[in-house]
Symmetry: C2
Subunit: 144 residues, 2 copies
DNA sequence: TTGACAAATAAGAATTATTCCTATATAGTA
DNA sequence: TACTATATAGGAATAATTCTTATTTGTCAA
């Protein structure tokens, strides 16, 4: 039984139990707002989305919850130059192209990049949990 | 005649002329504070360093100057998770390991990584100016 | 089911990093 | 040397995030 066969609620409940965190309506609704979001939302985008369900939720709760989801391994923070932190719900191996002008991040897949070996001298000194090729330059809209 | 054989002042003067920017003492001293810095200083670190030479320089001038150096191709902004923006004076191809806990960035070289080919579908859509492998995890101090 | 308690939340204040504004100073040049 | 556009200092403003505190709410054990 893999993740895909569990519904979103069950994934969240399992992860919360593992991490000894309570299953609150806020956490549930924030998680729902992220499922199938293949973009790279900021905390504020998620906040606006969740407010439609819980009008008086605070930004702090959204921000704190997103960071706890990162700790729980449900999300990643996108590396990048931009100021508002961006989150990534896609936990599968993929790579990024970031536009230096508009800060847009474009995901792409590449099996050659996925297969890169971590150098021995790095593996022996550090615990490596993520690996990604980051390309930068100008996107199609900005290069004109 | 390559860059290495020019002294720092001359590199800066040439770049400023190219960009039609004036050669001010502030720019000169900020540039001097960066030469041979193989760390990844924040604007504030540079500000503290430069204040020893120009006690009443403003943070804004340092920040603005660093960003203009990025535009001029004298520096790069480090991709990464941390909040204070970090600058990189090493323009040669290298790769990064970033600690998720302390946000420290460790440079490493790897000729295999340097040789990675940009996928055709990316090269045809975008202008790619940078390429780097980014590893993340826990550094030696934080993994305990 | 209820009560107790630790954890989570809302609201707003505080902090942190960066950028903007404006009056003054200065580099480049004619 | 004088002119002009650019750069700077200083402080205010903005933006993003995190902290503080009083209150509320899951969870668990009786």
């Amino acid at each position: 039984m893999n993740k895909q066969s569990l519904d979103a609620g069950e994934v969240l409940r399992n992860k919360c139990r593992e991490a000894n965190l309570k299953i609150t309506p806020q956490r549930t609704i924030i998680f729902d707002a992220l499922v199938n979001d293949k973009g790279h939302p900021t905390a504020d985008i998620v906040f606006q989305r969740v407010r439609k369900k819980i009008p008086n939720i605070s930004f702090d709760t959204v921000s704190r919850t997103l960071l706890s989801f990162v700790d729980m391994g449900l999300l990643k923070v996108v590396e990048g130059h931009g100021r508002p932190k961006r989150f990534d719900t896609d936990l599968d191996s993929h790579h990024h192209f970031q536009c230096l002008k508009c800060n847009k991040i474009i995901d792409f897949c590449n099996t050659g990049f996925d297969a890169l070996e971590i150098p021995k001298e790095i593996k022996s000194r550090f615990t490596v949990t993520g690996k990604k090729v980051v390309l930068e330059g100008l996107c199609d809209s900005c290069k004109r």
